[in-house]
Symmetry: C2
Subunit: 132 residues, 2 copies
DNA sequence: CGGCATCCAAATAGATACTG
DNA sequence: CAGTATCTATTTGGATGCCG
């Protein structure tokens, strides 16, 4: 994993690999980017299926935005909207198997978020009592 | 990984774990969310250090936005701006070690982006020649 | 409850020109 | 080259009210 000798050869491969990675990350961000999509999927993976349940878990999201995000998620094959006819009609959203492909990504992001919060906390303490 | 018996006990733990995960992901998105930050870090990790180099790699970013994003990244400890006095002054941005904590996340996102693109491509093919 | 329509405010981003 | 300033256009989002 360490190299420093022949850089000319590396540079070209690096540029190509860079483009590949940038394209892939760009693709991913296009589909699951934004503040809410991953958070909605996380909330749903913990058993929240109803519109208002999800809205309660995902702090700060408005009904309009949640509605729009759910549509996007359905279009992209992560969830499905189920309408049960009865008195009254109940509507539930369910995760589809494809949403499980995000597990690794969500796990990585969760771990990073936790360690980042701790890093920030540690910096706060070590900045010579620089309170605001 | 399969459970269905005692759901009451699970639900409470689930709700707490849900909140933990949502908070962590929210923290992460706050710092590295948006279209550009990860892409800039990826480009820099492949050796791009100059402003225009980065702008060339990260397709579509404007100078104004790149400038603003670089400032954010510096504030959050991912990069450092180095000014070398000479004729003319050269300015380089370098990754700091903290940016390496993102490797797992970037890797997960890259893999997901690649597989997602392939899934979409496969769907295109299987949708009875439904060209647009 | 689960939304959608409307209106309006704020944030974001593109284009262009300009500077040291 | 490495930005900044300005202006404008577009996107996004909150608030509210309404509907089945």
């Amino acid at each position: 994993m360490k190299e420093s000798t022949q850089n000319q050869t590396d540079n070209k491969a690096f540029t190509e690999e860079c483009h590949t990675v940038l394209t892939a990350v760009s693709d991913a961000l296009y589909v699951i980017g934004g503040k809410w999509k991953l958070m909605i999927i996380i909330a749903m993976a913990r058993g929240n299926k109803r519109f208002t349940e999800i809205q309660k878990q995902v702090t700060g999201i408005s009904a309009r935005v949640l509605s729009s995000e759910l549509k996007d998620l359905e279009l992209n094959g992560f969830i499905i909207k189920k309408v049960e006819n009865g008195y009254p009609v109940t509507i539930e959203y369910e995760l589809l198997p494809y949403s499980q492909t995000l597990e690794e990504l969500v796990g990585a992001m969760t771990r990073w978020g936790i360690q980042h919060r701790e890093k920030v906390k540690a910096e706060m303490g070590s900045e010579k009592s620089n309170k605001q």
